[in-house]
Subunit: 358 residues, 4 copies
């Protein structure tokens, strides 16, 4: 397989380029009888949609989702769900200037080396536009997880600026253009990002995904651990350079006694953990604690500041990427990260049900 399918039982197969007639995906393995309509999906796509504020790309992609199959009388039937978004705002002319150059940081060079040619319009298949389909599939995954699972993401670092976790407020996330859970940082980031944008530069970010209500027992050792599948899911998002679970890289610096999440029995006989360095997984299986994952997004590679590159047919050149780009793609990566985490959890929920009865 050439890598456009994700998941074992909850399976997403994606297609489409940024400048073709449409992008789409097939979601297979969905249990029957789940209530689903286009609105259930559209709400998440709208979170990812560009052009909502001055801090994201000014492209106008209404991203109207169509359900082509698998739903009958507003319920899933168990048949594969075909989803499609027609591409509307494709200004291929924007790309004439760069069709003969490799944009540093983009997949231009590697696609050219691998496939011998490339669809240079907006990155073709390598465009982050494909992440719209991840978000759409994630909306269906959430339906499988049900309301017991609360899965949400937030930007916890923009450029060098980290939030103060003591000010974490989930309500704040919806009230600023950055999905930032720290209202103070959100204000500071406005100024920072305006400056980045005006300079034609870009900046990176770190996103945190949390899922509460995930039952203990999800994940399939040895290789398909819940954390391993989350790592793959999040690292597969364009521009992601790192993934960590729980204490993550900081765990390396801890002593065994500090890292241990000690356990106590509650009066009702249930088990309580006194900390969550594990990030909700032990041995690759969910423990019932919150799943906590973070991923790092590199700064947008399309910038207006000239960089050195080469021509596709030889010779050095400088390149400036104009067009309508996000100064911080990490912002729109928040709903994408949520969606990928939802897909992984839904897949493992079904897998656990098969082997262990759920």
């Amino acid at each position: 397989m050439s890598g456009n399918t994700f998941g074992t039982l909850f399976r997403v197969t994606s297609y489409g380029e940024s400048h073709g007639p449409a992008i789409g995906c097939v979601v297979d393995g969905v249990p029957p009888g789940i209530s689903l309509n286009e609105g259930d999906i559209q709400v998440y796509l709208d979170k990812r949609r560009p052009g909502r504020t001055r801090f994201t790309s000014q492209r106008r992609e209404p991203d109207v989702i169509k359900i082509l199959s698998g739903v009958f009388e507003n319920k899933t039937t168990g048949a594969p769900i075909g989803l499609m978004i027609e591409n509307i705002d494709t200004r291929s002319k924007d790309y004439d200037a760069i069709k003969d150059k490799f944009r540093p940081g983009h997949a231009d060079y590697t696609y050219f080396k691998k496939y011998g040619a490339r669809d240079y319009r907006g990155g073709g298949r390598s465009s982050a536009r494909e992440t719209a389909m991840r978000v759409a599939a994630g909306a269906i995954a959430r339906k499988i997880l049900g309301e017991r699972v609360i899965l949400r993401g937030a930007l916890v670092q923009m450029g060098p600026h980290k939030i103060d976790r003591n000010r974490w407020d989930w309500n704040a996330v919806g009230e600023n253009p950055f999905f930032c859970p720290d209202p103070v940082s959100a204000v500071e980031w406005e100024e920072f990002l305006d400056d980045v944008r005006k300079r034609g530069s870009s900046t990176g970010a770190v996103i945190e995904i949390q899922a509460s209500g995930v039952p203990a027992g999800l994940g399939a050792p040895t290789f398909d651990r819940l954390d391993a599948d989350l790592a793959k899911a999040l690292m597969s998002i364009p521009a992601v350079k790192g993934v960590e679970i729980g204490a993550g890289f900081d765990a390396a610096a801890l002593s065994g006694e500090d890292n241990a999440d000690e356990m106590r029995m509650r009066e009702d006989g249930s088990v309580e953990f006194l900390s969550n360095n594990a990030g909700g997984t032990l041995g690759g299986i969910s423990s019932g604690q919150d799943i906590v994952a973070r991923f790092a997004v590199k700064p947008t590679s399309s910038i207006a500041i000239p960089r050195k590159t080469v021509h596709t047919h030889g010779g050095n050149a400088d390149i400036v990427t104009t067009g309508r780009h996000d100064p911080c793609v990490g912002i729109r990566a928040v709903p994408v990260g949520e969606a990928m985490a939802a897909c992984v959890l839904a897949d493992h929920l079904l897998r656990d049900k098969a082997q262990c009865g759920g």
Copy 2:
């Protein structure tokens, strides 16, 4: 599938518990005609073997590999390669004290919740003993990659102590008990780890894997990106809490212009990158630059310092894990990380050959 198979074309299927009669794996998809004997594998297993120094577990696991199939007259035949190591030094009695308690940080609790029972002897299937088979499979993967690919790993941080990258010397890696590329740090770590060990504590680590000579073009977007598959491979190693590629989490703090790996044309017409923040992959496809990945290993969960836990059948308890444990499992994770990276690269080499002709 319940997660004991790794890879798409180069496929490893693993089995075995730490205290059963044997552990083993099946390696499928290996091209025919490759020279292979047990010695080719044993050399890597010996790097992972415990008890070589006072800084690793004092268990005596000779870990003698047997090839059961797939090789005829010292060449691979194209048939699946069955590998097996008989378990020798299994002191199940060591585990009597903990059979009714969940060890914090271990998979005891989650296996119990998922499977309804657990093989408490040495962690059963969740034991890191299974990583011997990853190392064995990795030795075969290296054969597929061939000599053009130089793949090696090193410990770059032990506990809070990072190496000085300016002192990086690959020759040093084989000359200290830590696979440390910085001879000065290696000396300092001896003292640090002796202290950790004597206190009955443990410490975490960060490992870096580098692969040079990897041809451009490996990796299969959208979901099976080379970096995504590396992330899964490394995160699936027991005790790993984070994975990053190239600049990794530091990329979040960079500006677009600083992060861009600029390109120049060499006199011979080949392309040169002026930096490697990408870690050798762009759009999930190898660029021909060195693949650089790091992963964080948490401190060993088995420690002699009492921790709070619960009984499997209810009630609080304290737990002390005696036995013969590694004070820093990160050390022995070095050959395991190398092996997993080799498996990913070999798999994508075959996948690329299928679709793009190699």
Copy 3:
């Protein structure tokens, strides 16, 4: 996975119901640089299209294929190819009469039992309409196989009437409404099928697929033998009840000496087989001889002759299936069988290339 993906490297993922807005599929794993346009696919869809003669359903499904992705400037790019056909001629009213009854021989009852509900319009997902996507994918598979492989099918039995193989003429296949290679049988079948049709009955058929020019070496033992994958591929076509390779069921009656395909060396050093009871595969691997497979199609289940059935909510009933149905679905199964065989061969061609270098 719930079964809507076919193939390992050449992968087809299908979706769509007969009465939804569209059917479609994603074809992943296609090598880059292959010339492809809609016409290349349409020509095969036209062979499957109903309503071309009085011997097939009178539905008007123009089945116009759209390529949504994966092709740029008339060449495949290596990205997944999204294909779609909009549904036009859907007369859902035809199905009101049967929405509360299970049609014998159809999947109505089993879908209802499995999924708890069903899309009764034209069979929903179980409709043979999905086979249009198999044909479309098969057209791409043929491109991968290239011109050296000649893959074609023919109806060799209609109802109880078998062709005379001595009269086999591939040119005849395109000159009668039955894809019949025996011109004499073709004439006889007209009368037979007219009678079947007028009585509101239906009849079964046997189709033979032959592929010449298939290189030796395709197929992956132990489980994914070329013949095993062909068997799955053909048996997965709606209404198919049997598959055989080479001598097939007749092989059971042969002696070992009669069944053996003896071998001789030609003057040029190549190997010649003196017969082809094996049907082109030995040990599940192609031998270079013609691949020969046959499959049996049951009579169309939708007939105008009353049959006993039950109501979906209890109680007995009689059922008559009106609408526009094929008196012999086996006819239109010919291009479908060709397509499935092409998909299997293309998949194994890529697999062989990966492991054995093609």
Copy 4:
């Protein structure tokens, strides 16, 4: 993958050659808590074992199964089950005479063409010896199906001699050396097969597998239909040339009204089918009726009657295959066919549980 893994959730990965140190397999995805010991498996292996009567190979393969993992205190743990049989009676010398010739009907030629070399000892990986592992895995699959499913096989045709189905008696199957359900045919076959054997010839056979008690709802359209997966499973058994379900190839000759399995409602509200031409599947999903599948086995290719062949390094030759061969491999294919059917059913049981809740 190179084809040595079978199944989606209940997964069998097999390895081993007839003349290596051992054959084995890994069975992954088994639910935890199922009672299992070696005896549960051995009983089925003993049915397949050669040398029990004069009508099968006189090789002495005690085929003692060892469970290496996945079982703790006689219960499955959910971990992968490693199984192994050490090879004992390997007379490699038997093969010296044929090491430089291709045996007609065997995989010698195709393995040589595909892999560039071959392990000529007993067929290497292509030896039917690997079917022992299918039988072992099938024994575990039966445990998952539970006692409600009665799955059994019988020889219904030997050479040209079919049984009289009116004399079908399941009790007879265990009372003759042929797994024949017709006591009269069993007697006649003794004489027939003695003659075949003495002439150094061989003969083919047809086996029928029946499974009763299979719940309605198993099978995953579109491609992974229950019948399609059964077809692949049975066709993947060495020497099988045809597979059919229910009425099979005879369905081609039926009219729609005769083929329809009419339905009636029983007094208790359950559904009764008045016939079973479908063989227990509709639209690829089990209907609750008996699953009925048949497969044709070609005559043993190893015969003492000289056949024409070629040398591996050029030139014509005659070949006689001496050694200890089955005159009718179809006999020992009965337990193998049962096992493969059990694996398919167990896999789909788990798949249905995941998607539809079982």
